[in-house]
Assembly symmetry: C2
Homo-oligomer: 477 residues x 2
């Protein structure tokens, strides 16, 4: 069985821990493993690394590389070849069509093969119960069923889509699906809850490639035509013209091959807001959750959710959520955290804080990461952390020179001399080197430990786009 | 008339804007002028610069220098010689005795001279009304009265001391004082308010040196003996042994020469808590105060006081005070901000965040200021801003070397060479210089504009106390 991990989602609702270029699935909260990393590890219990594919877009490629190298370092080389990049963000129907097309045309996979599709931004536990369930559901896929997975609701949630099923089972495990329902209002959600035949839609799917192809043919012919009549390269080119539509809407709502396996004895959480995190995390006897407790002095708090990356002192707070990162502070009455979207909308409209909306102060790059420490009128200071064996591309800047001071490790620096020749220098801890304007340069970490460099840029313009690259060490982008 | 500005107070209640080494009187909030600067400007309308004296301690000397140079640059050279440093913090009785002793012995001032004493951490307005009042009160001082200034209370405040007066006037301007009362409880405060003969104690005084000497003699003989029988140097040495007692308690409560001038048509605020600031600052129609509004996105706030130095997003808050600096976040239910003291007590007891409790991230020095940008395992990065014409002391460090990169201005650097000779170098914008361990060095700003340097310290120990100074360019400390 193949597994397809959907990792291209924009997941903005965990702002300010999530950002545009660091969406929810990659955020390491509340554990030190991101939901993407947890999904990957779970998938490795379902499929071998060679059978795992990741669908994402180029903005997240560095993150995926960094996070796979971190949690499963041995399989990056295998997975690297199994990353499918969406040319642009379309909804899930075109995205899944692209993945199917890739599996058929590039990987030449037999269309009888089963495919398990999982989002990477949900919390699922315990993993073992989940694996057994997938094992049981597998046989259904060989009978050309499209299988969805539903969670028995325990409250009238208005944040999830619902799957309505018949009250009899197929193969003693799945209910035939009667209808898909979009996120309901409160009254409707209460009705769904009372009926007992409505389940939350988990967004997980299992089917054979053959079966889904048939359903594309029956219900999404525009996409299907392109899947069967064009080359993979051509399909990529035309991807932008495909209808922006979800797989639920395009196919699942219309298919009569659809069944739903209930996820019994499995906890599933979408965690789409800070309130959702408050619900699931353990609380003290005053109903408080303190994250990074060593940073928090809290007097007389009640039912608060406090997360802080610097010293936080609170006095007399009740029902308040505080998420305090090094560049943004979010404070929210409990129960109102879905309005984070409104905050983001305002920021977008006002066209402010562009950098901050895109990235945290740490920005991940293919070679490691950098952090901006200070920005002045004609200068900028960054800390670069370059992973062992990695290198920045050969580049030059016309508007700034750079001072590099190695504070940890050894750097191999390639630098253009007065005559235009590239020369190599080794710069050790506590040594520095000067890179003049308009001279080609590159940093390499030749060592076995991370290399840390303080970079002081000085010039009339110190933005990221003053860069001319002479090679691209990460050719896929 | 001489004026004595009391500027040695510890004013911690505006934490996190105030810190141990940056107390309330120097904080530039809500205006760009600190309360100390406002007090100085006010005093200049009462006395000429040559007649103004400042009582403080060495920890605040740089601040006083910086703030005087900023608001009244021409008089620093005059005032510099009129700063009286307390050897240790004692209460106001010894402090005022020290100032009197200084005026008599060092300045040889006639004991018939009047002295106006003003704290520097109160807000007083309008200034012109206040000046007229002092003018009127002056004649009373020549009749050997000790004059205090009282504010007609308009609410039963439990945070102020009260002065009870007789209901007849002396010289048509002052009421004889009946009794001093310490901060009352609510019921007592309500009684005071209803009586009409109780006033808030402003902490301002006016008297002749002769008159206060007499009262020291009558009521604080231990202090008086030292004032008349020792030299100024000896008095300084014995200062630590004087009783720690307030001038109110030692003298004012006991004197029968005491009168009170009511401060009519003058607004006076102690501003001892964030709640007090909320009361006096202008609010929008939802009762909100937003400081640094450009940093704030606020949805559905009501009666909130928000101050933030970085992006702050709030949703649905009511009656909340938020003070967000670059290193500390304080969030407090409105009405509870006096508990900031408890927060500080906890931090002290736990012996945490020592640097942060002492200073803001910008630390003022005699030559300018520095800001710590980043701290790593074996390195630290600082930005130094050196004022024109200023210099750091000649110094060396045994455990760290330093890289200096000039990002603005020109530095004159004195650096010890291999043979132990001191050599001078000019380092211009975008140039750098390396200072090895155990080599003497000094930075001088020879220019007309502030000099900005990025300093990267690398070594096995990068704390402030690894420093050996070879001279002290600020000999008074």
């Amino acid at each position: 069985m193949k597994t397809l991990i959907l990792a291209g989602g924009k997941g903005t609702r965990l702002f300010p821990l999530s950002r545009k270029k660091y969406p929810k699935q990659f955020v390491k909260f509340p554990s030190q493993e991101s939901l993407f990393q947890q999904t990957l590890k779970r998938s490795l219990k379902i499929s071998s690394p060679e059978d795992i594919f990741i669908l994402t877009n180029k903005d997240y490629l560095f993150l995926i590389k960094n996070q796979i190298e971190e949690c499963c370092p041995n399989i990056w080389k295998i997975l690297e070849k199994r990353i499918i990049l969406e040319p642009v963000a379309r909804n899930t129907a075109p995205a899944i069509a692209l993945a199917i097309k890739y599996l058929m045309d590039v990987e030449n996979i037999n269309i009888e093969e089963s495919l398990f599709i999982t989002p990477s931004d949900h919390l699922l536990e315990p993993v073992d119960n989940f694996i057994s369930l997938i094992e049981k559901a597998k046989t259904l896929a060989t009978h050309d069923y499209l299988i969805t997975f539903g969670i028995k609701p325990f409250r009238p949630d208005t944040g999830y889509g619902y799957i309505e099923v018949h009250n009899y089972k197929v193969n003693n495990i799945a209910f035939p699906v009667k209808k898909f329902h979009e996120k309901p209002n409160k009254t409707t959600a209460e009705m769904y809850l009372s009926k007992g035949t409505y389940y939350w839609n988990s967004g997980l799917f299992l089917f054979s490639i053959n079966a889904i192809l048939n359903e594309f043919k029956n219900h999404a012919s525009e996409i299907y035509e392109k899947m069967v009549n064009t080359s993979y390269e051509e399909f990529l080119k035309q991807f932008i013209n495909l209808p922006e539509i979800s797989i639920d809407y395009a196919i699942m709502e219309k298919s009569n091959k659809l069944v739903m396996v209930p996820m019994e004895n499995i906890k599933w959480y979408d965690l789409g807001s800070w309130d959702a995190y408050y619900e699931i995390l353990p609380k003290d006897d005053k109903g408080n959750i303190f994250f990074n407790k060593e940073n928090i002095i809290s007097i007389e708090s009640q039912n608060c959710f406090l997360y802080s990356e610097k010293l936080l002192c609170t006095i007399g707070l009740k029902d308040i959520i505080i998420i305090n990162t090094d560049d943004v502070l979010l404070i929210c009455k409990k129960g109102e955290s879905q309005k984070v979207r409104d905050v983001l909308k305002i920021l977008e409209q006002e066209n402010r804080y562009k950098n901050l909306l895109e990235n945290r102060t740490i920005v991940f790059r293919p070679w490691g990461a950098y952090k901006e420490l200070e920005r002045g009128d004609r200068y900028k200071i960054k800390k670069l952390i370059i992973k062992p064996g990695e290198a920045l591309s050969l580049q030059l800047h016309h508007h700034r020179s750079e001072h590099w001071i190695v504070v940890k490790g050894t750097a191999k620096v390639v630098l253009e001399d007065e005559e235009g020749r590239l020369k190599e220098y080794y710069v050790h801890e506590n040594e520095s080197i000067f890179v003049p304007k308009s001279k080609k340069h590159r940093i390499i970490n030749p060592g076995k430990l991370p290399l840390e460099i303080i970079e002081v840029q000085v010039g009339e313009y110190v933005e990221e786009d003053d860069i001319i690259r002479y090679d691209d060490i990460y050719n896929r982008i």
